[in-house]
Symmetry: C2
DNA sequence: AGTGAAAAATTTCACTC
DNA sequence: GAGTGAAATTTTTCACT
C-alpha cells in the first residue's frame, strides 16, 4: 500500500503526540474526524503504526546513564550468535542490540543509574554472556538528542 | 516524589501500550479507575511520563537501515561542540546524538532506506558537519531488538 | 484509595455524496 | 475516498465513604 501526503501528515503528528484525540488530529491534517479515523485504522492494521508507547523521563526515573557496548564474539556460527542474542535479550537494562557489519559483531545500548550501576550490570550480566572475545564500553557524557520519530 | 509498586506497574504497562484505556489499565494494575487515573495524571504532571508517541515500522516505512556514526572533532571548545550539535540537529535522518567519553567525541544513530541512501545522507549532510576530524560509519546488518521501555 | 454517578468528549458505524 | 450525524464507549470530574 502506498502512503499519500495526508497519511504522512498523520504519521508525523502521531509520532510526536501518540495520544492526540482523533478530533484534534483530524483538525491538524485537514480531514473530517471519520475520514481521519479511517486512515489511522488502516495505518494500524497495515502495520505502518506498530503501536503506541509512553516515553519516560530517564533522569526522573534515575536511569540517566547511557553506555554503548561493542562486543566481538570468538566465533560467528549461527548457534553462537543465537545463544548470545538469547542471553542479551534477558538483560533488562539493554535497550537495543544490533548485529553489525565490520569489526565489532554487536553494539548494545545499555542504560544505568550511574557508572557504579553500570559496573553492576557489567559484572552481573555482560561478563557472563556466552562466546564473547572482546568487549568495549563507551559512556555517553550527555545525550544531545534522541527521538523515536522516523523521518516521513 | 517517590514511586511505589503500583506506579511502577502503571509505567510498565504504559511503556508497552501507551493508548490503553484507563479502564483496562486500572484492571491490569488492580486499582479502581479513578485511583488509577489520579496516578497517571500525577505521573504526567510530575514529568515521569514525558509523552506518548506512535512507533512506526521502519521496514514498512522503507527505512530499515541503521548506521552508527562515530565522529571525532578537531577541537573540543564549547563553541565547536555547539556548532556541531546545531548542525546535527537539522539532519532529519539522525535519530540520536550522544556526546561520548573517550576517543570518539560523538556517536550518531542514523536511519536510511539502504546503503545508497546512506551514501546520499553522508554526502549531503555528514561531510558538511563543522569541525569534524574523523568519521567512521558502522552498518547494522540486523537489529536484534530495540525498545523504548526503561526497566522500571 | 475506593465507589457511584453525571457530564463531557471521543470513537465507531451506517449512510450519503 | 470524504462528509454527516447518531449511537456506543471512554474519559473526566465530583461528592462521599
Amino acid at each position: 500500500m502506498d502512503l499519500d501526503d495526508t497519511d504522512r501528515r498523520i504519521l508525523r503528528v502521531l509520532q510526536k503526540q501518540g495520544r492526540m484525540s482523533n478530533a484534534d488530529l483530524s483538525d491538524q491534517v485537514h480531514l473530517s474526524p471519520s475520514a481521519c479515523h479511517r486512515r489511522v485504522q488502516r495505518l494500524e492494521t497495515e502495520g505502518f503504526i506498530r503501536g503506541y508507547v509512553a516515553l519516560l523521563d530517564a533522569r526522573k526515573m534515575n536511569m540517566p546513564t547511557t553506555v554503548f557496548v561493542e562486543i566481538t564474539l570468538s566465533a560467528q556460527a549461527d548457534e553462537v550468535l543465537e545463544a548470545f542474542e538469547k542471553a542479551v535479550s534477558r538483560i533488562p537494562d539493554v535497550l537495543e542490540c544490533h548485529l553489525m557489519a565490520g569489526t565489532a559483531d554487536y553494539i548494545l545500548k545499555v542504560v544505568a543509574e550511574d557508572t557504579e550501576d553500570f559496573a553492576r550490570i557489567h559484572r552481573q550480566y555482560l561478563t557472563r554472556l556466552p562466546g564473547v572475545a572482546q568487549m568495549q564500553s563507551s559512556f555517553a557524557l550527555r545525550t544531545v538528542f534522541k527521538t523515536t520519530a522516523l523521518p516521513v
